[in-house]
Amino acid sequence: MGLQMLKKWLIGAGKMKVKVGVLALQGGVTEHLNHLNQIENVQVAPVKKPEQLNDCNGLIIPGGESTTMRKLIKHYNFTEAIKAFDQQQKVIWGSCAGLILLAAEIEGENNEQLALLNIKVKRNAFGSQLDSFIDKAVIPKVSDSVQELVFIRAPLITEVGQDIDILYQKEGQIAAVENKNIIATAFHPELTKSTIFHQYFVEKVKSLSN
């Protein structure tokens, strides 16, 4: 116990690195790795095998094709490993496809999910690639500065459970949420120049690392 408290203090004081994995089965992996690499005291690793999660403090499930990633997650036994990761109160962030994979329910589908986040989502909520767009907004809990929100064939959150905090919504359309240890965004902070969202995630990782 003494050792764990020491480790927690060291991480909190910025004297010890936290390790963040990016699920590297398909999608925008390098974009997240590049953003994380710009943050001090973060060690990053592309995660291709479930056992690599053992020494990670945080995990990002990137954007990409959720149907593709879902199949690879199942085939390569990531389902139980990511569920265990969540049970240890380690921090997970899903962007776009990652959000879909974390959701408890997907409108019109009943495929097997990780189902770690008490939300309902609608895939391709805006339409085809011609309907992709960039918005600008302040997300108060994350930062006071205006952030670019990049929506690409993006999903939307249509219902949230009681334990969910809404980080960002516009005209009733929910695009970012969190609970105690999970963040989910329908947009892609990794496709902007800003690392604000990644810093927010890393702070959450640090606050829960023990």
């Binding site: 590297a24 089965l25 398909q26 999608g27 925008g28 992996v29 390098t30 974009e31 291709k48 954007g63 990409g64 094709e65 149907t67 593709t68 199949k71 690879l72 085939h75 776009c96 496809a97 895939r123 391709n124 339409g127 085809s128 690639q129 011609l130 992709s132 767009f133 960039i134 990049v150 690409i152 064939r153 892609h188 496709l191």
Partner: protein, 292 residues
Amino acid sequence: MSEKYRLNKNLAQMLKGGVIMDVTTAEEAKIAEEAGAVAVMALEKVPADIRKDGGIARMSDPKMIKKIVATVSIPVMAKVRIGHFVEAQILESLKIDYIDESEVLTPADEAFHIDKRKFEIPFVCGATNLGEALRRIGEGAAMIRTKGEAGTGNVVEAVRHMRKINSQINNLTTLGSEELMTAAKEMQAPFELVEYIAEHGKLPVVNFAAGGIATPADAALMMQLGCDGVFVGSGIFRSGNPAKRAAAIVRATTHYQDPQIIAEVSEDLGKAMSGIDINGLTDAEKMADRGW
């Protein structure tokens, strides 16, 4: 750079590490999606059959494309003939996700490609070398692929194109700034893009492998050569067991650096597409030479 172009390049980034599969029916599209494809390419005939049947190869029937769009949730791409901007206008109006201005179809223009900057929809184009890739990007392509020699089941041309592009990129990074204009002249490529390559050592857009990829090992080979993902055309639905081969190629693309996994997925795939010897093709039969 326009916001739309940025978003279009971004969509290609989300396809990285994935496999885009040629499909000719909604049923094939469903099989591809089930196998883990990141996108499907809707076309009337796969390149192997275009070669066999001869004649003029054109954009597919919009009805078939619409049916595929309605069937799958993953992005849908479709091909237009080189220079055929009206076929592109039609596909844009169908609200598919990506257009491939492709040498696999019979070119509609002997001198000019489509001015892709006039469109909101993203384009992918083939390239056999860096100059060609940069000309297409200059015209507005948001994604590049090697041309390979489609419909042959022979990966040698895709390898040649990828190695050529890699070595030309490496070469540019060694040049002094005063040498870049001459390099641009020799490659027949836009100067600003040559400067970009010299500074960053990589293309400003995602680059996939295409043309002749028939096995999980072929896909992993192209990934290890530095491609961001792969297109598989005739290789899947002209093989003995399409669903199994498709899933195997998806897994090999994810784990392209893991020979054990590639070995595992390569077992019992049935017959690969038979293939064609490229040396036996006449110049007129070579699709990779189409495009300017």
